[in-house]
């Protein structure tokens, strides 16, 4: 979230699309209710189902699953054609005035530079026109036809209310009503917050769904303000923290882009990741990249990381190609992976196309499950009737299952969706012989280290020299680890303006990432967390919930990254002269000498407004991007593409161009394209989702949750039920081109057929939480049905829109 949970109460409009927080995040959603109660805020919901969030909304509109860009593109068009934008903000704080390269264009659904064979773009024209002064060219009047504003306006002019209705199935008047609510926050003193979750991410165009909202919030001037921003309502209690630690291939802790085969040495690696400012006077904060990266190398390899060996640059593995859950399981399916670990992760249940995942696991030499519970994945080899129909004798994978502790049995930090890092205390011992995750990792690592020290082997240096100065090496404590994450001075850190002045003494904890150096004098495990454990102690354990601002900022509760800032981009909450857009909800203002207010400024504290230092300090432009340059795989402006399994024969936006039917830049593996079904055999749109009584495939192991929601069901509309002769409570079979599940039919008024492109489209709703292990009634895994294709940028699977057929079981 750019803002945080409590801040939702400050909104004038709460716009929920791509999420269902009343069910999935109930205790956070109470802040939307507070906004309604105390500010007379309007809650607006757009979703394929009339869900529980919709049931308490001021307005609800339906849409066909997988058509969010068509809907939001229509909103952008509405705001631009009805002049419902925050002009001063758009002009000053976005790249609307920036001139775009003359070669860039868009034709019938495809942007310039497309390579059909590679399913990717040459993005060399997706850029700004550069002036002789080395800065991007701009037209402050926004009139130049090549400025981002005009190109955007032309791009979205096709998204008329009629087209929105044709593609999404949303009645035109309902769409226009939603537009009116959203447009009401174009006023400088009104804000809208956008709440989304997996309903936007789990599509082959997921990232572009969110880009649409980023554009809308910039046009409305809603970023940085109390009650504004974009709220990514994330999954697990610590999925934010583990993302920040970058437990995935593309980044190192703190979102430092990992080295790839394109980086030949440290110098070129740093040069490629350290941008130059694109406009005068901008902070261009990522210019500090070398400090963050060098401090990470020092935290990991200590004295072995020296200027002479490029600070151990070659100790880091270089990424050779795609590496994400889908690509890893595809490689496993092709027999290219020998060993695999699942730490608190149940991929047989949570990765699409269960059959492919199971076949992949069966090709492994060894599989290690590290989990508190007996997961479905741990028994992928074991027959569980028709739910898991396998022959163990044919599966040669050696499977280990290691018991680990649960949240209540460890101390340490979780980071919530609002980026607040909070300390937890251990309440009990884990059962039996369970060990903590850290202890298991430490034991495996130290055993390998001993083997490499004794026998040698492939490139042992990074293993032998990894810093491991924990009091109990086999059991590092969370306190030691959080201090390492925060970072410390290795040598005295000197004031660059006055080298006789010592800012941080050698050995002391760093006060923040502002003190990191690229000369090897500082160590820091994750720069964005720096400040959480300064010399004064553990700030994540702070429990002062006082709120003098009344805005819910609680600056002394836990510690928010970065530097305890609660609202990102908060300099944008004030106009260019430094005066808050809404004085009643002041987040930040210019006092005449400094930036101050009810938060930690997201700006150099002494940057006077006349210096024109813009609020988006992580961008070399200093402003937000309406035109995304070359940052996205499928284009600088979001464009509607159909899901890979669509009930339509073509993309109604580009009916004559089959290349533009589905995301032209999405990766599809051999065999998976063939496994897509067509509307002829599978006429109904299916979408998967959560229930309020369950969390993923986890709570099915908990008795009380299993009592509350004991068995797999699917939801179908009354009209479809009647057509198929299915009665409420009857058992039905749901088939996709990849498999089938059986479930109880719940016939409901909450899902209605939609009129899409002249065709009636029915939706089948499939809750995900059930499986063959646990306290719930044994059943099928919902992801038996789902397609093996992901978003083109981050490869999040398309769980939310695919095709099925149904019949009586």
């Amino acid at each position: 979230m750019t803002n945080h949970w409590v801040d939702i109460k400050n909104a004038d409009v709460v716009f929920v699309m791509g999420g269902n927080p009343a069910e999935a995040h109930p205790c956070g959603f109470k802040w939307a209710i507070e906004a309604k109660k105390n500010r007379k805020a309007k809650l607006v919901v757009v979703d394929p189902r009339f869900n529980r969030t919709a049931s308490v909304a001021d307005y609800y509109a339906p849409l066909r699953s997988g058509t969010d860009i068509a809907f939001l593109g229509g909103v952008i068009n509405y705001l631009l054609s009805n002049d419902k934008i925050h002009h001063e903000y758009v002009k000053a704080y976005t790249n609307a005035p920036f001139l775009i390269d003359g070669g860039f264009g868009f034709e019938d659904g495809i942007f310039t530079g497309y390579n059909e064979e590679k399913r990717s773009y040459d993005k060399s024209t997706w850029k700004y026109q550069m002036g002789d002064d080395g800065f991007a060219k701009v037209d402050e009047t926004l009139q130049d036809p090549r400025c981002a504003f005009q190109l955007m306006k032309a791009h979205y002019s096709r998204y008329t209310p009629e087209v929105v209705s044709q593609v999404c199935g949303t009645p035109k008047d309902a769409f226009l009503k939603v537009c009116e609510y959203i447009a009401s926050t174009a006023a400088p003193d009104k804000t809208m917050t956008s709440l989304y979750a997996l309903g936007w991410t789990e599509h082959s165009v997921g990232s572009q769904n969110i880009r649409c909202m980023a554009i809308i919030q910039q046009l409305l001037g809603n970023m940085g303000q109390a009650g504004g921003g974009i709220g990514a309502l994330r999954g697990h209690a610590n999925v934010q923290g583990i993302t920040d630690m970058c437990a995935y291939a593309q980044n190192l802790p703190g979102y430092l882009k990992a080295p790839t085969d394109a980086d030949k040495d440290r110098a070129s690696y740093l040069a490629a990741r350290t941008p130059k400012a694109l406009r005068p006077n901008q902070m261009n904060f990522v210019q500090n990249f070398p400090k963050w990266f060098t401090s990470l190398c020092k935290a990991w390899w200590g004295d072995a990381a020296t200027a002479e060996n490029d600070f151990a640059f070659d100790y880091l593995p270089k990424l050779g190609g795609a590496s994400d859950t889908l690509s890893i399981f595809n490689a496993m399916y092709e027999g290219k992976i020998n060993g695999f670990f699942c730490q608190g992760f149940n991929p047989l249940a949570s990765v699409p196309n269960k059959r492919k995942v199971g076949d992949g696991l069966a090709k492994l030499k060894y599989l290690v499950i590290i989990d508190p519970l007996a997961t479905d994945t741990s028994e992928f080899w074991k027959p569980h009737g028709e739910f898991n129909d396998v022959d163990p004798a044919k599966i040669q994978t050696e499977v280990f299952r290691l018991p680990t502790s649960l949240f209540a049995e460890t101390s340490g930090t979780f980071t919530n969706s609002g980026r607040v890092i909070q300390w937890r205390w251990k309440a009990a011992e884990a059962p039996g012989d369970s060990k903590d995750d850290t202890e298991i990792i430490a034991n495996l690592f130290l055993r390998l280290k001993a083997m490499y020290a004794k026998d040698g082997g492939a490139f042992a240096d990074p293993i032998l020299k990894l810093t491991w100065a924990y009091n109990q090496p086999y059991k590092p404590s969370s306190e030691e680890l959080l201090r390492e994450i925060n970072g410390k001075a290795i040598k005295d850190v000197l004031d660059p303006k006055d080298p006789t002045k010592v800012l941080v003494k050698a050995g002391e904890q760093l006060p923040s990432f502002g003190f990191l150096r690229d000369d090897g004098s500082t160590a820091c495990g994750n720069w964005i967390y720096s400040g959480v454990w300064p010399q004064a102690g553990n700030l994540s354990a702070r429990r002062d919930n006082s709120d003098p601002s009344g805005l819910g900022q609680t600056l002394n509760w836990g510690f928010a990254w970065p530097v305890n800032r609660r609202i990102l981009y908060n300099r944008a909450s004030a106009d260019p002269s430094g005066k808050p857009w809404d004085a009643k909800r002041t987040v930040m203002k210019w006092t005449g000498a400094a930036w101050a207010g009810n938060d930690v400024p997201d700006m150099r504290p002494n940057a006077a407004p006349e210096e024109m230092v813009m609020p988006f300090i992580m961008n070399p432009e200093g402003v937000a991007r309406l035109f995304a340059r070359d940052m996205m795989a499928e284009g600088p402006f979001p464009e509607h593409y159909e899901p890979f399994e669509s009930p339509l024969d073509n993309n109604p936006m580009h009916p004559k161009n089959p290349k533009a039917k589905s995301n032209p830049a999405a990766r599809v593996y051999k065999g998976d394209m063939e496994a897509f079904g067509t509307a002829k055999d599978f006429p109904y749109v299916a979408t998967t989702y959560r229930l309020t009584e369950h969390f993923h495939y986890w709570t099915k192991q908990s008795r009380i949750n299993a009592i509350m929601q004991p068995e797999q069901f699917v939801e179908i509309g009354e009209e479809l039920a009647k057509e198929k002769g299915i009665a409420n409570g009857e058992k039905i079979k749901i088939r996709s081109n990849r498999g089938f599940i059986k479930a109880v039919a719940v016939v409901t008024k909450r899902i209605k057929a939609l009129d899409v492109d002249g065709k009636k489209v029915h939706t089948v709703g499939i809750p995900i939480h059930f499986g063959f292990k646990g306290a719930t009634k044994p059943g099928f895994l919902a992801n038996t049905l789902t397609p093996f294709v992901g978003d083109a940028n981050v490869q999040t699977p398309e769980f939310k829109a695919f095709l099925v057929n149904i019949e009586k079981a």
């Binding site: 109930p26 309502l233 994330r234 697990h236 209690a237 610590n238 583990i242 630690m245 437990a247 291939a249 802790p253 593995p317 050779g320 859950t325 890893i328 490689a331 992976i337 695999f340 608190g344 992760f345 030499k365 590290i370 508190p372 080899w381 004798a393 280990f400 299952r401 018991p403 649960l406 209540a408 930090t413 919530n416 969706s417 937890r424 251990k426 309440a427 009990a428 011992e429 059962p431 039996g432 995750d437 990792i441 034991n443 495996l444 055993r447 083997m451 082997g457 990074p462 990894l466 429990r543 919930n545 819910g552 009584e693 986890w698 192991q701 908990s702 008795r703 009380i704 509350m708 699977p797």
Partner: protein
């Protein structure tokens, strides 16, 4: 005023204020009629966070025992932490069932192995588990480590073993896992963030 014998003595021994209550004519009701005491009054309270969704609600965990060396505490109750500014004491239907998760019948209690082709689990010691897994890892790493790519560039990666890192773990465990995996050269790692 209703109190049992133990509470009565406790109050009396607290000093003057306690004694004066007795002097004012209050006396304990008969011990035989003792009602069940409020369990949580003598429980140990620990502050933690619900592990389910990313609201990360503060919880109070009540357990028996006082965390002294020889007392094996058991969690008897979990409720929302009223001090937490986000959830303010509330829990949803998921979080309300936390105790049943911790005490699930499906908790794993010791390391096990399912041998190749076998149809059942077999209990093994931690030592055997670590030993066998580490041997698998080293054999695979030594056989498949890529020091240089086809162009002769140093890449130092181990592509044939993958790892899914838990988003249900705390930051410190995640950090240590990432640190160890990167040092081993693993590039096939991912977490629930993408799924």
């Amino acid at each position: 005023m209703n109190m049992n014998r133990r509470q009565f003595f406790k109050v009396c021994s607290a000093g003057l204020s306690g004694s004066s209550i007795a002097l004012m004519g209050f006396s304990p009701t008969a011990a035989q009629a003792e009602v069940r005491t409020f369990k949580l009054a003598r429980a140990t309270e620990t502050r933690n966070i619900c592990p389910y969704c990313s609201v990360s609600c503060g919880v109070l965990i009540y357990s028996t025992g006082d965390k002294s060396k020889n007392s094996q505490g058991e969690i008897i109750h979990i409720e929302g932490d009223p001090d937490n500014p986000v959830n303010r004491g509330t829990l949803c239907p998921k979080g309300a069932g936390l105790r049943d998760m911790i005490q699930s019948a499906n908790r794993l209690k010791w390391p096990e192995v399912r041998e190749a082709g076998a149809s059942e689990w077999k209990r093994i010691s931690w030592n055997e588990a670590f030993d066998r897994i580490a041997k698998h890892m080293k054999a695979d790493r030594d056989a498949n480590f890529v020091a240089q790519n086809a162009d002769g560039l140093t890449v130092n990666r181990w592509p044939s073993t993958g790892f899914l890192v838990s988003s249900a773990s705390q930051n410190e465990a995640g950090y240590l896992t990432v640190k160890a995996l990167r040092a081993l050269g693993i590039t096939g790692l991912d977490t629930q963030a993408r799924i």
